[in-house]
């Protein structure tokens, strides 16, 4: 009988060193949610901080599109890796674009 002893420790959530550009988020405590999705998959850097964007223009739909779901909802920060400041600006820009029919409010699946 072979001894099966998986000695590999189970990667417990957000272990690891300091993440760039991300303050300790909600991954610290709490039981991991099974079934839904994993916590904190990869280290993500805020795209706007990297590109040093100062103004998120609501008229540029191509810039906003990657941050919006197919259904029209705004993606949460933990999915896109945006920093809080830019996430706020992004929200404002998306809402302005929605008002002027450049982005949908909601689409039916």
């Amino acid at each position: 009988m072979s001894e099966q002893q998986p000695a590999t420790p189970r990667p417990s959530g957000p272990s690891g060193g300091p993440r760039e550009g991300r303050p300790p988020g909600p991954g610290g405590g709490g039981p991991p949610r099974r079934g839904k999705r994993q916590y904190f998959r990869k280290k993500k850097v805020c795209r706007f901080c990297v590109e040093k964007v100062d103004f998120i223009d609501y008229k540029k739909v191509e810039m906003l599109q990657p941050f919006v779901q197919e259904r029209g909802k705004i993606l949460p920060r933990r999915m896109t890796g945006t920093c809080s400041k830019h996430q706020r600006w992004l929200g404002v820009a998306v809402k302005r674009a929605r008002n002027i029919a450049l982005l949908p409010f909601a689409t039916e699946l």
Binding site: D54, F55, R96, I100, A101, L102, F105
Partner: protein, 140 residues
């Protein structure tokens, strides 16, 4: 009062003829100059598909205006005219001067900081560009 910067976007029915749109833009320009404003830029984005139906239309003719004004009441007047016009189905005004100011401040901060770092070894006190960046640079 400081000069305010506005973005005005309005959408016309896609079937509107070009001259009528030009007429609307001219009306807005006249109204703006009467009330102490100035139209900086006019861009006609043409017929574009809209993200949802407005006035039972799927497409609309988008027009974008950038305005400078010293009086806030100008916007009310322009929007009133757009509301009254039959061809215009949607409009939106955004006030941008605070954001532009903030953006310029960020750019200035960043340039100032970038300039200071290589010079830190050479000269100790940096050229006084502003009172605020002094504290930031001291900690870096």
């Amino acid at each position: 009062m400081a000069e305010r910067l506005y973005d005005l976007i309005f959408i016309c029915m896609p079937t509107t003829p070009e001259e009528e749109i030009t007429k609307i833009v001219n009306t807005l320009e006249h109204a703006a100059s009467e009330h102490g404003g100035k139209v900086e830029k006019v861009e006609k984005w043409g017929t574009r598909k809209m993200a949802y139906r407005v006035a039972k239309q799927r497409e609309g003719f988008y027009v974008y205006l950038a305005l400078h004004s010293t009086q806030g009441s100008l916007i009310k007047e322009l929007e009133r005219r757009l509301k009254v016009s039959d061809a215009v189905i949607k409009y939106m005004t955004v006030r941008l001067d605070e954001e532009i100011k903030r953006q310029q401040k960020l750019v200035a901060h960043r340039e100032h900081r970038a300039r200071r770092r290589p010079r830190k070894l050479a000269t100790a006190p940096a050229p006084a560009a502003g009172p605020a960046p002094e504290q930031q640079a001291a900690s870096s």
